[in-house]
Amino acid sequence: MSPVVNPVILRAERLGRIVQDKILLQDVDFELQMGEVLAITGPSGSGKTSLLRLLNRLDEPTSGTVYVEGVDYRRIEPRELRRKLGMVTQRPYLFPGTVADNIRFGPAQRGQTLPPEAIAELLAQVGLEDFAGRDVANLSGGEAQRVSVARTLANAPLALLLDEPTSALDEAAKLEVESAIQKVVRDQGLTCVIVTHEVAQAARLARRALVLEHGRVARTGPVGEVLRA
């Protein structure tokens, strides 16, 4: 009996971006199956964040493309694409108001009102029960980042793109956020791309890794093998 192969959610094909003759990313190819977690690592300036921005189409590729569930992402309406590929940035950038206001933001863009129970459930997933009514101005860095994760999850994304979500946090907050991410990914079987410059974090969160150097894929494969190399 052949092993079960999960469908491919995300496929980057010769993806590249050159801005004013500067190569940010070139010929990046990879596939991501449903439920898979891929860590993208590499030194500063290697193109990790650029790759995530291209996946979310916050920037336009100058070569290649991305297929989302087999469809060229240029054929998907940008707002729908960004809902499907939920992104969590390095800094949480919460909007002024309460935690619940932030959680409601994504669905509200499509005219949906998230009921209080759904908000409570999302907050419970990131370990922030009873935080719905809190003003975001009074949150710690770790709490804010967890709200940011829950806010992205409120859009029910197909895959989660995490851009160094713990790099701006202290050690304690880093562990809080990382365990929240781990729980969410494990419990929901979420497909996930996580950019991190920490090898240990990549090993803890992902099963596969892709190392970028000077905008090109240097190595890719099982996380243990790639990161030891």
Partner: protein, 262 residues
């Protein structure tokens, strides 16, 4: 004091211009000591301004005898120049000249046309061109303030805007609060001018009308009329320019195009 040394009006005028320019240069030097470098920009602006206004003054002599329709061409030329000047304040903003020129043309142009049609502005070239130029100049300043504020806000809140986009927000919605802030900020000078009219300042137009023999009450009322027209033209210009620019800072795929330092 200058009158003791200069007896011809032209010489006196240049001496007065020199003294006023020296006062401006002193401020520039003070700013330089605080690390703000405005020397070249201010010098060019002052020389340019003097040359332009002397040229216009000379042309006015000819214009006094020109047919009325020529004022239309003059005002159109002023709008184009105002658009180009204003666009320089919107560094890196896509289509800044077209946005500025259209906004000023529609904002100031429509108020000039309407007020002329209603008889608020006299059709005589000696009235239409100076009053029209006041409306265009103020619309230009308002437009510059609006674009500059919008640009600064968008660059300062790039993270928030892209977060909203990443969560599926409509591009125009993601910058709507900055559009509103830019519109409000751009109208502060026009509102303050209306508020302080007659108390803090007695504008040049009123002084000119009084000197040319108009009744003081009519001169005062007409000054209010001009400031109200300036407010209308400036407000409409800012409304149009912020509306036009907000969609131009995004690509068709709703990607934020505005980058710092471009």
């Amino acid at each position: 004091m200058l009158r003791l040394f200069f007896h011809s009006q032209l010489q006196l005028g240049f001496a007065q211009a020199l003294v006023a320019a020296l006062a401006a240069l002193t401020v520039i030097l003070l700013a330089r000591r605080r690390g703000v470098h405005l020397e070249s920009e201010t010098m060019i602006a002052m020389v340019r301004g003097l040359v332009q206004i002397v040229a216009v003054g000379s042309i006015l002599v000819i214009l006094l005898r020109a047919p009325r329709w020529t004022s239309g061409f003059l005002l159109a030329g002023m709008i184009a120049a105002a658009g180009a000047t204003s666009a320089r304040r919107a560094k890196g903003m896509p289509d800044a000249f077209r946005v500025s020129a259209w906004a000023i043309a529609c904002g100031a142009g429509s108020i000039i046309a309407l007020m002329t049609a209603l008889g608020v502005i006299d059709t005589a070239i000696t009235s239409l061109v100076p009053v029209g130029s006041m409306l265009i100049a103020n619309a230009m300043n308002t437009n510059s303030l609006a674009l500059n504020r919008f640009r600064s806000d968008v660059l300062a809140h790039r993270g928030e805007i892209e977060t909203a986009l990443a969560l599926g927000a409509d591009a125009r919605h993601s910058v709507s609060s900055y559009v509103q802030a830019a519109f409000e900020a751009s109208l502060i000078p026009a509102i303050d001018s209306l508020r302080s009219l007659g108390i803090v300042w007695i504008p040049g137009l009123m002084a000119g009308m009084l000197l040319s023999g108009a009744r003081p009450v009519y001169a005062a009322i007409y000054q209010f009329v001009v400031l109200a027209m300036i407010f209308a033209a400036s407000g409409l210009t800012s409304l149009i320019s912020t509306m036009l620019i907000r969609s131009r800072v995004f690509s068709p795929a709703e990607q934020l195009l505005l980058q710092a330092g471009r």
